[in-house]
Amino acid sequence: MDCRPEELLIAAIARLLRGCRNIAVGVSSPIPGSAALLARAESETPLRVELLESLDGNSFTRGSVELFDRAAQGRIDAFFLGGGQIDGEANINLIGTGDYPRTAVRWPGSFGSAYLYFLVPRVILFREEHSRRVLVPKVDFVSAPGASAPEVYRRGGPTALVTGKALFRFDADRRRFRLESLHPGHDLADVLETTGFDFDHDPAPATTTGPDAATLEMIRGPVAREIAKAYPKFAARVFPSPGPG
């Protein structure tokens, strides 16, 4: 099925969300947000999506502290994190490059990552840019570690990494990523070349499945209309004609 790259990512991430009951999506996350809305549209059981970006897209009535409490209560199954740098042990860096605190490049900060990474069972790392600049052997600053020593309380962590080129699964025991599939148009040689960390892979990896016609219709229809409320510019760019409301 012919689709835009963003639509492929939305469909791929939505598949990673199957079985979830409660998904929270942080700010500045239009593609994960669309994926969560798609997962909800396709779910046969009730699935709640909390869009933190959106004023009326979430059910927090006691302030944003409620997200963190709810995660600790086991009421959030899935969340998304990114990273200025991500390394092969799934450590993420949202602080900057170079020596902390006077980092050569400063990014905004760690936000809730240092907490949610430990408490949300299914954290999906998402970063469109797939380059050695982002996917590094070792992050310069660990905003949140991908794995923890056995004595450390941890009920969640990374399960997958989705980039513009590929989809990886994370093996927490081995603390390593395994390439699960290459997005259409990308090959293993390129991914090996542009990934700064070692990862496991089949000699001939699968190709990431794109959305079928029904799913694509869902993405371009109800999902596009809903995500446009939180991310109008994204929706206008990716779904130029979302159809009548």
């Binding site: 502290v65 600790a72 980092t103 400063r106 905004p108 900060g109 760690s110 430990f118 949140a144 450390v152």
Partner: protein, 279 residues
């Protein structure tokens, strides 16, 4: 903290934030007090310890750019879709401002410790991160209730801001402030010694009189002063009242890349009168 609420002008409100105090500011989407921040810049505020609850954007970037802050305690400073916070980033790189990097729930936990008069609050997670590694004011203990042999647990010291400052939809003439579902504003105000609020409007009647409005109201007990500031979050958006002024933010993001551009922005935006509604 026990006097009646004062009703002040913006500049009078800014004078209630003495140089050197710790100043809690909410995240941009929960009522950024931009009109008050401009008033702080106008009065030449200095040496502030900014506490972002738990993140911030334009408010913090402007105060840092204007040289008003010595220390920023934050979980993230960013202009969102308009990119990184240019003056914050430059000041960090230059070592011109100290940063106390945190993670969102740790800032809430510290404020909740203060709200409860406690020396600390525990928090799960964070262990093994460099956020913890660089915070020598945070402690890890072995959970005394653990059944396992070892259960390291983070303790965050109380954060008690000297002043909390935010923008809200409305206040009544008694000083009660409607905060709606932005419960973190209540935590901020409970934790702070004094709370200053700018509001879109001062309304007649008593917000506490009906349970429907009382449920979303911060009672005047916690409110030291209120200034009416229509469009007081501008150019940030505010709830469903007005969206972010994207042209203004884009302008800011462009100009503030350099110290000179930022100075020009300040001259235009802060020393000039507050922008009229409908801009």
């Amino acid at each position: 903290m026990t006097d009646s609420c004062l009703f002040l002008s913006l500049d009078e409100l800014a004078a209630q934030v003495p140089d050197g105090v710790s100043l809690a500011l909410p995240k941009d989407s929960a009522g950024a007090p931009m009109a008050a921040v401009r008033a702080l810049v106008r009065r030449g505020a200095k040496d502030l310890h900014l506490i972002n609850v738990p993140t911030s954007g334009l408010a913090t970037d402007i105060l840092i750019g204007a040289g008003a802050a010595r220390l920023v305690e934050t979980s993230g400073v960013s202009l969102g879709e308009f990119g990184g916070a240019p003056r914050f980033n430059a000041a960090v790189k230059a070592g011109a401002v100290r940063v106390r990097d945190a993670t969102c729930p740790a800032i809430y936990a510290g404020l909740q410790a203060a709200e409860k008069g406690l020396p600390f609050m525990p928090l799960r997670g964070v262990i093994g991160s460099d956020v913890l590694a660089f915070r020598d004011d945070w402690k890890v203990i072995d959970n005394p209730f653990a059944e396992a042999a070892e259960d390291p647990l983070l303790l965050l010291p109380a954060i008690r801001p000297e002043v909390a400052l935010f923008h809200a939809r409305r206040a009544d003439r008694l000083g009660n402030v409607w905060i709606g579902v932005q419960g973190e504003l209540a935590i901020m105000a409970h934790a702070a010694e004094r709370t200053l609020v700018t509001v879109e409007e001062v309304v007649e009647g008593d917000l506490m009189a009906r349970e429907e409005s009382a449920a979303g109201t911060l009672p005047e007990v916690y409110v030291s002063a209120v200034a009416e500031a229509p469009r007081g979050a501008w150019p940030s958006g505010f709830l469903d009242l007005y969206p972010t002024d994207e042209a203004e933010l884009a302008d800011y993001a462009r100009l503030a890349r350099s110290a000179e551009g930022f100075a020009a922005y300040l001259e235009r935006g802060c020393t000039a009168p507050a922008p009229a509604a409908g801009r």
